[in-house]
């Protein structure tokens, strides 16, 4: 039971390492930004699994905060890609 949850946690961490591969190797700049976006969502999954494993509910708070900050970061990067100034 607990061992099975441990295995799932390690699989999720391994998936986020795969995203790091795309961030490092990616041939163009937008490829790396896709990697950053997906990495942010995967970390939220890690937070949720740890919240089950330790029975602490406040780890979910960290997850929601991570969603919000990752969203604002993605919008800023997308606005940078459209070659506009940030206050337009």
């Amino acid at each position: 039971m607990s061992n099975y949850l441990n295995i799932l946690l390690y699989v999720q961490i391994g998936l986020s390492v795969i995203c790091l591969y795309r961030i490092i190797i990616g041939p163009t700049i937008p490829d790396r930004m896709v990697g950053v976006d997906i990495f942010g969502i995967l970390v939220v999954g890690i937070c949720a699994i740890i919240a089950i494993q330790t029975e602490r509910s406040y780890i979910l708070d960290i997850g929601i905060a991570w969603i919000i900050l990752s969203f604002i970061g993605t919008l800023t990067l997308a606005k940078y890609l459209t070659c506009k100034k940030l206050n337009e």
């Binding site: 905060a65 919000i68 900050l69 604002i72 919008l75 940030l86 206050n87």
Partner: protein
């Protein structure tokens, strides 16, 4: 109209209020859960940054907004100093003296003056991070080539 596409604008309408409330939640529960003044302040500043990104600079009248946030930041700093030196009024000679009742562990109103510190530190951090963002996007235009 300037800004990003209509999808981003409409989603910003629905989500900016929720992000602001979530930041307040992190600040107020700072003595019970991880987070506190700094982390909550960053999220509150994030809601304003989101509105500025989605609607463009003309929507918020950026220059007026900048002077307003400067005033808020200074007031928050003065309040933190006042609470820190309030211990002198009660006859002791220490900074950050706890003069309020401590309450029950685990309730929302407990831990003495700690929630007050969290609230003012959160206001301070939110205002200053928004000022940093505004100065990055305003002063870039005026700098000489």
């Amino acid at each position: 109209m300037k800004g990003m596409t209509i999808i981003v604008k409409k989603t910003t309408q629905l989500i900016a209020g929720m992000i602001f409330m979530y930041g307040i939640y992190i600040i107020v529960h700072g003595h019970l859960t991880p987070g506190g003044g700094f982390a909550g302040g960053v999220i509150v500043a994030g809601s304003f940054i989101l509105v500025t990104l989605a609607y463009g600079g003309d929507f918020l009248k950026l220059v007026k907004e900048e002077s307003g946030t400067t005033i808020i930041e200074s007031l928050a700093t003065i309040m933190v100093i006042l609470i820190a030196t309030a211990g002198f009024l009660f006859g002791t000679r220490v900074f950050f003296n706890n003069f309020l009742p401590k309450g029950v562990v685990g309730q929302l109103v407990s831990a003495g003056v700690l929630p007050l510190y969290n609230i003012f530190v959160g206001t301070e951090v939110a205002a200053s991070i928004f000022i940093i963002f505004l100065s990055l996007i305003i002063f870039k235009e005026e700098s000489p080539k």
